[in-house]
Assembly symmetry: C2
Homo-oligomer: 146 residues x 2
């Protein structure tokens, strides 16, 4: 059993929740997914296995609580997630023109926030840094386009 599977199982057990067929399939789909994904993308890969959209939506929060995924960004009205396993927090750079999403490490931003957190006596759960703007490609075509 893979790492994330046992972690999820442990989380569910601790909460007296059950590891169902649907939940297993969703977890599997999540870890088959590279990069960002939203509820619909998971559903597309699972509807043939008769997993409902409702259950996808009900499972996502569980996976977050379990620390297996995190809300990465919100794009076009949808919440997009990403797995946490092997994916440390990072900055998301979103091009407001072509919607491209770049990523870059948190670097010392992380320690600075933790330092400030200590001053505020704030217990950090999740850091979210998103920068909106124009990617280099769109900056070049800034005049032409539109």
């Amino acid at each position: 059993m893979k790492d994330f599977e046992s972690k999820f199982k442990g989380f569910l057990a601790e909460k007296k929740l059950k590891l169902t067929r649907s939940r297993s399939l969703i977890l599997e789909a999540v870890f088959a997914m590279q990069g960002h994904f939203d509820a619909e993308m998971l559903y597309d890969r699972l509807k043939d296995e008769s997993v409902s959209m409702a259950t996808v939506y009900r499972t996502l929060p569980l996976l977050m609580e379990a620390g297996l995924i995190r809300l990465a960004i919100r794009m076009e009205g949808r919440d997009r997630f990403e797995r946490t396993f092997g994916h440390p927090q990072h900055v998301h750079w979103i091009c407001e023109n072509c919607q491209a999403v770049l990523e870059s490490g948190l670097g010392s931003l992380k320690s600075m926030l933790h330092k400030e957190a200590k001053a505020l006596k704030f217990g950090i759960d999740q850091i979210n840094i998103t920068v909106g703007g124009l990617c280099w490609k769109c900056r070049i075509n800034e005049n032409d386009s539109q």
Copy 2:
């Protein structure tokens, strides 16, 4: 005429848009608002002046483009804004238990992001840093509550 009024007027003129009664009232309401606000809060203060919710929603993006307000945070499914005049960008600390929102300066986080932006050739438009977790009050009552 106040600073923000002429700035908005200038923005509209440049875009060949009109400064209407509704837009003026909305702008006024925005600058009467302290802290964060959402569309509904503005509407509540303007419905008696017969300004519609639709117009509030249509004006918010204009105010953003004009650089008068920015999207601060998203809470309980709603977008919450804040004015930019006299309110430099800052970090938002959101308590996941009591929903309190703390703020702290960007400090050197800003320059670090701009440095990284240069490396990525990314043109920054807006920086959004939000940290989720527990405020000090909720950390103390962590056991009791619930």
